[in-house]
Amino acid sequence: MREIIDISTQDIKPNRAAVLETQGVPPNKELPERILSIFDTAMELLLKFSHPRAILADISIPEFDALYKGEGLNEKETPLGTIFRKADNLALFAVTIGEQVSQKINELFNINEFAKGSMLDAVASVGIDKTGDIMEKHFLDLLRKEEKLTPSTGILRYSPGYCGWHISGQKKLFEFLHPEDIGITLLESYLMKPLKSISGIIVAGNREIHIFKDTFPFCKQCKTHSCRGRIRSMLKKSLKRE
């Protein structure tokens, strides 16, 4: 299976609280109209200038084993290094919302519309993360159609540059998946262009395989520990399906 998917901009509309959190605003904080109006403008611009597209391809465990070795720069022990070997199904993915949003952000900064530029950047970042959620859901639906789901299946995605998977892993991922077909290119520094793009592996398997402690040596440098929330969310979704 290898498919290219056009995603509706409406589907990537981010939640206001999630966006405002990236701007340092705590949840449930009442905000003045001028800030809310900036959020609304940023949302309109996102819908106008984003063109979400995705590519998804399944990959076997031995194939991913070779790919995951990458340039040999991963941390010695990583959560994903253990998890993927226990998976039932794997799929590589890449998603982008296109270059125009980034261009618009730059334009806004250039005309001193800093608050709008920064808010559009935040809206786009949360939006691109939502496209990742959409890909997880899409893969889940495919597995359901193929009757490959079990009551205990949990689905979670992992990306190069996080949790000990070195960002240079992008090279082999691109060689296998060819996200160029949806307009994503890889720079020498392994940065994806357009900037608002994400890539990685979606792992489907017993939900227990995704549970790990954030006590790896590299976890000390992590400023977010967002794995905790992601694991909780995966468990919640999986248990709900059960």
Binding site: L187, L191, K193, Q221
Partner: protein, 224 residues
């Protein structure tokens, strides 16, 4: 003076039109551009900076205030000799070679300008030689580097080494920041300071300049 207080308040409210209107009025009342800048615009931004640091206001408020400040500055700038605004110091900033992320760096630039610094923003994907060439050409006191990628962090070290090679380490202070960067990394590569966000960057740059002026050595502090 009442009008300077009003400029400061309008700026704190992010009211761009009002700041511009009041700045014009202050000029017409023969208040010196330097006084309008220091006691109206920069004073307002300093209050904004403090409120932001203490989580009383949030990033969008700061950025609206910055836009209002830029409106006032645009009016005042031609009134200084050859357009040379008084400056708290000259800072060269950029995102290092290989990285195109520049929102964080832009925010630092905006906040530094708001605090009265002259900022030369080299943009993103900046090669080490360009940092050093610009610092020399502009006779800047500080160079600030940003990156969001672990793969481009070594470029920061290249810039530090190049500055040392050119025997500029006594005249230029180096500050680094960005998601994967830490105080430990700053110390390791020989940078003078690390900053964890835009408000902290302003404080750190002020401290670097003050200590440089006093001939003391700034010690890299741990971030948040």
């Amino acid at each position: 003076m009442d009008i300077l207080r009003k400029i400061s308040e309008a700026l704190q409210n992010g009211n761009n039109e009002k700041v511009t209107m009041l700045t014009k009025k202050a000029v017409e009342e023969n208040i010196s551009p330097k006084e309008i800048l220091d006691k109206g615009l920069i004073e307002g931004m300093n209050i904004i900076g403090d409120k932001y640091k203490n989580h009383i206001i949030f990033l969008p408020d700061v950025l609206l205030a910055a836009k209002a400040m830029y409106g006032g500055i645009a009016l005042l700038k031609p009134m200084f000799i050859e357009g040379n605004m008084p400056s708290a110091g000259k800072v060269v900033i950029g995102t290092v070679q290989g990285d195109l992320h520049d929102i964080g760096k832009n925010l630092v630039g905006i906040m530094l300008k708001g605090a009265g610094f002259e900022v030369i923003d080299l943009g993103n994907n900046v090669p080490p030689e360009k940092f050093v060439r610009t610092v020399k050409k502009e006779n800047a006191s500080i160079v600030g580097m940003s990156t969001l990628l672990t793969t481009t962090m070594p470029v920061m070290r290249d810039v530090v080494n190049l500055i040392k090679k050119e025997n500029l380490e006594d005249s230029i202070k180096i500050i680094v920041g960005g998601a994967p960067v830490s105080a430990e990394f700053a110390r390791e590569i020989g940078a003078d300071a690390y900053s964890y966000d835009s408000a902290n960057a302003v404080e750190t740059v002020k401290a670097l300049i003050a200590e440089k002026d006093e001939g003391k050595e700034y010690k890299v502090k741990s971030g948040e």
